[in-house]
């Protein structure tokens, strides 16, 4: 809610010209979600400080957000926006200091062009990634960064640090640059989507980032976060940044493909190499985390691609003509199944209606030709309820699904799939927990929604019992490069009905 800008350039009160706000006045600027105040706590020739205070009206704020789900509307009312220098604050900053940000100063053009000593202070900056990320983003821009995490609650030291940082930037920069840095990087650090990202955000980003963003070592993170991780926009921005800079689009492209990033966000899965994608509670995990997960691209291709290939190979071997993907998520495997003409009947089911809608969109079901459309069925189902629609397939795929089921409910899944639906074959893949030691940065399990991860012995014990109880023969296959000590990253069991 508060930013102070201090300069010690002589005369310091020139800051008023630069900001187009008179040091001897307290001014108000109406915003859609509250009121912005600009005033000067100090204004001497030696030292002048301008303060921007945004007084957010949470009720007005909620109204501008439209209807949200009940779970989240609680968040709308008890909300950090009135206190934190969030993306809303950046919007206000952009608006109130529009002219200064553009580097225009009709009366004193030489002032706007000059680099002056500046100190910017933000007492409560929401910063996903902590003080460390703040440094990573501001230091390359020539700022000396003082960033200190605010504790969550002094009375409960065990709770640790909050996501807020007390930030002080000092440096000698043009004021317009400083404002543009904040304008772009506040929402990037905040990393919460508080306003609808529209197509013109790309323009805004490219304009505000002119002269510094294309060369920033963290540009891909900045671009993705600024655009709220909307894949198509991100790509457009990359392309245009590349035009501005000397580099080609390819080198700017982030290491993850669009869908993967989108899925990772949706499911809050940890992303390879950095912790930036973690813990988005809004992204409800579905029965699938096949694309995300911690598995970094390996020499043989990304693990999820190899997993798909292994499943498809097994289906070929089984000579399956019909297959049901149990826990199909947003339909990544389905898309590959559809490309196999040998499969005349394909079904995908998931417990998440949202995932299914996404799968339908991704597969373009509504535009598919009739013949093709007849091959595939999508429906909502839960693997702990018996369901006639699961029955009658040559093969069923449980790819990275069982580990999302609470152990006490696994028995129900076994009886529903192996006992009642009884497909000719069942292909099960699940992480090999032993392999986790090979992910250096990984703490805990590979996905926040995993209820367990099995060692090879644990998987074998489960699979053999299930096979014996329900009359299936079992065969194991490792997926991914096998490590001599800990095995392959993914384990797969192929069950064939006797």
């Amino acid at each position: 809610m508060l930013l102070t800008i201090t300069t010690t350039a002589v005369p310091a009160t020139d800051l008023g010209y630069l900001l187009h706000k008179h040091p001897e006045k307290a001014q108000e600027f109406g915003q859609a979600f509250g009121t912005a105040h600009v005033f000067y706590p100090e204004a001497s020739a030696e030292r002048c400080t301008a303060a921007l205070l945004l007084d957010v009206d949470p009720v007005r704020l909620a109204r501008t957000r439209g209807r949200s789900s009940p779970d989240f509307s609680l968040g709308q009312y008890v909300n950090d926006r009135p206190y934190a220098a969030s993306s809303l604050f950046a919007v206000t900053l952009g608006d109130v200091f529009r002219t200064a940000r553009a580097g225009r100063c009709a009366a004193r053009p030489e002032l706007a062009a000059a680099e002056i000593p500046l100190e910017l202070r933000i007492p409560a900056l929401p910063c996903r990634g902590g003080p460390e990320l703040a440094r990573r983003l501001f230091e390359p821009l020539g700022w000396s960064v003082e960033a200190e995490a605010v504790p969550l609650d002094e009375r409960f030291p065990g709770w640790g640090e909050s996501r807020y940082v007390r930030l002080t930037l000092t440096g000698v920069r043009r004021l317009s640059d400083a404002l543009n840095h904040l304008y772009v990087l506040l929402p990037v650090l905040d990393d919460a989507k508080h306003y609808w990202v529209a197509a013109d955000e790309v323009d805004k980003l490219v304009r505000a980032g002119e002269g510094w963003l294309a060369a920033h070592p963290e540009r891909s993170l900045i671009t993705r976060r600024y655009l709220g991780r909307r894949g198509s926009l991100t790509r457009a921005a990359f392309a245009r940044l590349a035009e501005l800079g000397d580099e080609t689009e390819e080198t700017l492209e982030p290491p993850v493909e669009e869908d993967v990033a989108a899925d990772a966000v949706r499911r809050g899965g940890p992303d390879a190499g950095s912790a930036e994608e973690t813990g988005d509670a809004a992204g409800a995990p579905s029965g699938e985390d096949r694309a995300a997960g911690p598995e970094a691209p390996a020499p043989g291709g990304p693990l999820n691609a190899r997993r798909h290939a292994a499943v498809l190979d097994a289906l070929d071997e089984l000579e399956a003509a019909s297959v049901i993907d149990l826990g199909c998520g947003s339909g990544q495997l389905l898309r590959e199944l559809l490309e196999r003409p040998a499969l005349t009947r394909i079904a995908g089911t998931d417990v998440s209606a949202r995932s299914l809608a996404m799968a339908a969109r991704r597969l373009r079901l509504d535009r598919m030709g009739e013949r093709q459309r007849e091959r595939i069925t999508l429906f909502q189902g839960a693997l702990t309820y018996t369901d006639d629609r699961f029955a009658g397939y040559d093969a069923a795929v449980l790819m990275e699904v069982v580990e999302h089921v609470d152990p006490p409910r696994l028995g129900a899944l076994e009886r529903v799939v192996f006992g009642t639906a009884r497909p000719g074959a069942v292909i099960v893949t699940t992480p090999n927990a032993e392999y986790n030691v090979r992910y250096e940065w990984l703490t805990g399990m590979r996905h926040p929604d995993h209820r367990f991860e099995w060692t090879r012995a644990e998987f074998a014990a489960w699979a053999e019992r299930v096979a014996a109880e329900h009359g299936y023969r079992l065969e194991y296959r490792p997926v991914g490069d096998e490590d001599p000590e800990v095995g392959a990253p993914t384990q797969m069991g192929v069950f064939r009905r006797d």
Binding site: M1, F39, A43, V78, P82, P123, D153, F156, A281, Q380
Partner: protein, 939 residues
């Protein structure tokens, strides 16, 4: 003149060929006074009908049947149909043709028109509705399709031939402007009809009613016959008796045990029995074969049936024995030889009588208004009350798969596992060691002839009574007690139990709709996060706050809660301290055996404490089981098992501290906001003070910022109060306030809060610090001083930082009696208008005799000023914010609270009644589904 011509019964009702027809006919004789009299199927019938010609002939069709009108165009079929049937019952080909072509005469549309007609007819028959087809039907292939349709839905088909002179039909058509087909059409149809009449009786109709001439058509009177299986008029009480298999001595012992008095003939043989309380026995069939005295059993049961003290359905053994006695070729096995030998020693007269009896047995009965169905091998719901060969086979032999097991016995599909019908189905046929309930069905064949026991079920009390076999009379092919294929699996629910738009009937709140989208959302929550559904027998309802207070600085105050109850006619209320924790439901079993028996959980766990959305409280199952164990110790020490006569309990409670479950939420939401405010506001205050010191006019903003800083500090205090560190179970406390259910009882619906709280005080005393008390005061709303004292109590409670209190009617479950001014009583305030259908306030089910009226809110929560800061934000007490917040609407929240309350009680009642798992799951799931309705979560 009318002819009643018996059709080919074999196709209609299945084996044995002769039987169903003769039953149908004899019923006509005995019951249909004023119906077409005489013995049908021959010349007698025709003669009888002729005798009645002058008065108008009676056309008698089954209550549920497909009636096929047959007659040429213009013969008056539609007029006949309109005179005798409701418009919705008559499906005409002309109507269907118009629907698919906008032109009743468009013959090119005929194939589509008939496809539609068959579809409509099929749907109606599946739903059990009498249906009349109004089409010419003069060609055999048209009728054949309809007969096939009837068979597919296991209903009988009757044909009514409207046979008027060609000339009459031609004249009628000529006078109609909407018909213009050539003069050749009627003669051709008439020719088809005449040809048809020769063979129509062999096509598969139960009967063909032939009305000749205009006069007879016009004078005809319709009559309806009940299905043979329909004994819904008998209400019992019944003693349903399992497979006897010639074990006369055990049967006599069992009847004695059940209080029957056996009548004996001069030779001391049992020839009948009656019950002093007027009970009726129902035999599930298989009276005969294998055992030592098949004739003795037959003599006794035949006597009882003849005297009207018993009913008996046919077993497969009666069916086969009857065929053997008729001299037909059957394989003599499975104990048939013994019966034939024993019967050979009986007089010819007895043999004939026994044959008549067995041959006349029908395959199932619907009793007591359809609530009880008895069939030898059970019957799936779609077959109840239906008649076809397939229905009879099912009832006699079960749902056989065609395979045989290692003992050479047929493998049967476990239909009972999937049974979802409301009627109780009682059957025998497959020997089991113990009679066990599976989805409201029970098999009573406990293998007495194999040395097991003979079992009876007393209805409606559901008591099971058995007597042991005197010895093993016959060696079983499959050892008794070995797993029958498809044993029970109560833990598995079917997607059909929960998916799609559903209507849940509740005994206290009427029929409650669950919208498809809400069910879809709940499915995800239930299957991804909830505990094993066998433990989820209840989810607590949401609770509404009172109308908004007008008092300064307050949003909620007890006065409005009291006023709301007073308006509902409630005078005695209890105010219970609202514990600031997490709502918890504790399911506790005394032993693992109780868990297995009552909840079907056999993995050794003995209970669960779960959240209001059905999640286990502790991620670590060992910790959960430890909590259950400690609560069980408290229940044992308090002597509640004995006092309540139960070995399981469900408690409604609050688990403390709030931070035990909600730490993540508190940190992410509340503490974060507190931290941001704590960092930002003092800095802003300092900047503003500096500006003010310079003489800038920022005084209003400064003053406001200072106030907000104070509010933020209060906010941090408010949530901090409900947090304390816990480690394992140390620091965890459970505050129960209601005993929801226990064996055979639903105290949540029957007992006043005084009862609950008194018993729970004993639990607190025995709880070794784990069980926290619920402080409360009682208030008499007719006494101002009493109400004021309760308000003072709330004030001091909330001043100390307490969350607030819940006001409840002392009596517990309360109805507002239906009054003439019932509509006016609906809370006028706060209806948000958008509630619509789902927002309707549930009323107790009408039609069960007397309606107790509309449910009254089970509780109203009145939250304290500081606590509400957590809900509405640090600055909610600022006057302009408070004014805005006062415009809150409670209608939807109240409606939701009542619907969820009714569903919760329904789940508990179903559990206490011993209903199957899916029936308990249905309302529980519905509560979860309703929770995804959009309602302001701050209420």
């Amino acid at each position: 003149m009318t002819e009643i011509v018996s059709g080919t019964g074999g196709e209609v009702a299945g084996p044995p060929v002769s039987q169903t027809v003769s039953q149908t006919v004899s019923q006509t004789v005995s019951q249909a006074v004023g119906r077409a009299g005489g013995r049908a199927g021959g010349e007698d019938a025709r003669e009888g009908a002729r005798g009645n010609a002058g008065e108008g002939v009676v056309v008698s069709v089954p209550e549920l049947s497909l009636v096929v009108l047959v007659g040429v165009s213009g013969s008056g079929k539609s007029t006949f149909a309109a005179r005798h049937f409701r418009p919705s019952q008559v499906i005409s080909s002309d109507f269907c043709r118009a629907l698919v072509s906008d032109d009743e005469n468009d013959q090119a549309a005929t194939p589509d028109a008939f496809a539609l007609l068959h579809h409509i007819v099929g749907v109606r028959l599946r739903r059990g509705l009498l249906t009349v087809v109004d089409a010419t039907n003069v060609q055999p292939h048209a009728r054949k399709q309809l007969i096939a349709l009837a068979k597919e839905h296991h209903v009988l088909a009757d044909a009514i031939v409207i046979d008027v002179p060609e000339r009459v039909a031609a004249e009628r058509n000529a006078s109609r402007t909407d018909r213009d087909f050539g003069p050749h059409v009627i003669p051709r149809q008439a020719k088809d009809l005449r040809r048809s009449l020769r063979g129509i009786t062999r096509e598969g109709f139960r009967r063909v009613h032939h009305l000749r001439g205009v006069e007879q058509v016009e004078a005809a009177v319709m009559a309806y016959e009940k299905a043979w299986s329909d004994r819904t008029d008998l209400t019992g009480p019944f003693d349903v008796i399992g497979d006897v298999h010639g074990c006369r001595a055990e049967l006599e012992t069992l009847l004695g045990e059940l209080g029957w008095e056996i009548a004996r003939d001069a030779r001391g043989r049992a020839v009948g029995a009656s019950h002093p309380e007027g009970r009726t026995a129902v035999f599930v069939g298989d009276l005969v074969d294998r055992g030592p005295d098949t004739p003795g059993v037959l003599r006794l049961v035949m006597g009882m049936v003849a005297a009207g003290t018993a009913l008996c359905v046919s077993g497969n053994h009666e069916s086969k024995l009857a065929r053997a006695l008729q001299g037909r070729k059957v394989r003599v096995a499975h104990g048939l030889a013994e019966s034939l030998e024993q019967l050979a020693a009986e007089p010819e007269e007895f043999r004939a009588e026994a044959l008549r009896f067995m041959d006349g047995l029908i395959s199932h009965y619907r009793l007591d208004g359809g609530r009880l169905v008895v069939a030898h091998a059970g019957l799936k719901e779609a077959y109840h009350g239906r008649a076809s060969g397939r229905v009879r086979s099912f009832a006699l032999y079960g749902d056989t798969t065609g395979e045989t097991d290692e003992y050479g016995l047929p493998v049967r599909y476990p239909w009972a596992r999937e049974y979802r019908g409301r009627a109780m189905v009682v059957y025998g046929h497959t020997p089991v060691p113990e009679a066990e309930w599976v989805n409201n069905t029970i098999c009573l064949d406990t293998g007495v002839v194999f040395g097991g026991k003979l079992t009876a079920l007393r209805y409606p009390s559901r008591e099971i009574v058995s007597v042991p076999a005197e010895r093993e009379w016959y060696a079983p092919a499959r050892p008794l007690g070995t797993a029958v294929s498809g044993g029970r699996d109560p833990g598995l629910l079917d997607i059909g139990d929960v998916q799609g738009t559903r209507y849940v009937d509740t005994r206290f709140g009427g029929r409650i709709k669950v919208h498809e989208d809400n069910a879809a959302a709940a499915l995800e929550i239930m299957s991804r996060f909830a505990a094993d559904p066998r433990w989820l027998v209840y989810l607590p309802p949401t609770m509404s706050p009172p109308e908004t207070s007008a008092l300064d600085g307050l949003l909620e105050h007890p006065a409005e809660a009291f006023a709301a109850y007073a308006a509902e006619g409630v005078t005695e209320v209890v105010c219970e301290e609202k514990h600031m924790g997490s709502r918890a439901v504790a399911v506790l079993c005394r032993t693992p055996e109780a868990a297995a028996r009552r909840f079907g959980v056999e993995d050794g766990t003995t209970g669960l404490v779960h959240t209001r959305t059905g999640r286990p409280f502790f991620a670590d199952p060992a910790l959960g089981e430890e909590l259950v164990a400690r609560l069980r110790r408290a229940v044992t020490a308090a002597g509640l098992w004995e006092e309540l006569g139960t070995d399981w309990l469900v408690l409604d409670a609050e688990l403390l501290p709030w931070s035990a479950k909600a730490t993540r939420l508190i940190q992410d939401q509340y503490a974060s906001v507190g931290a941001a405010a704590g960092a930002a506001l003092p800095a802003a205050e300092a900047a503003l003070r500096a500006a003010a010191a310079r003489g800038l006019d920022v005084s209003a903003l400064l003053e406001r910022t200072t106030r907000r800083a104070a509010n933020a500090a209060r906010f941090r205090e408010a949530y901090g109060r409900y947090c304390w560190p816990v480690s394992g179970l140390d620091g965890v406390r459970l505050a129960p306030f209601q005993i929801l259910a226990c064996e055979g009882r639903t105290p949540a619906a029957t007992e006043p809060h005084t009862w609950h709280l008194d018993l729970l005080d004993r639990l607190v005393a025995a709880g070794e610090g784990l069980v926290a008390p619920t402080r409360r005061v009682f208030a008499d709303l007719t006494d101002d001083a009493s109400a004021r004292a309760a308000i003072d109590w709330w004030t001091s409670l909330t001043a100390e930082g307490g969350e607030g209190m819940v006001v409840k009617p002392v009596a517990g479950l309360t109805f507002r009696p239906p009054a003439p001014a019932a509509q006016a009583v609906r809370p006028a305030e706060g209806t948000d208008g958008g509630a619509g259908e789902e927002g309707a306030v549930p009323a107790a089910r009408a039609g069960d005799g007397r309606s107790p009226g509309r449910l009254v809110q089970p509780g109203i929560k009145v939250r304290g000023r500081e606590y509400l800061r957590i809900i509405y934000g640090p600055d909610y007490t600022e006057p302009e914010r408070l004014d805005r917040l006062r415009q809150r609407f409670l209608g939807r929240k109240r409606s939701l609270a009542l619907r969820e309350y009714a569903l919760g009680l329904e789940a508990l009642a179903r559990l206490a009644d011993g209903e199957p798992a899916w029936r308990v799951h249905e309302p529980v799931f519905a509560v979860l589904a309703l929770e995804s309705e959009p309602v302001d979560p701050r209420l």
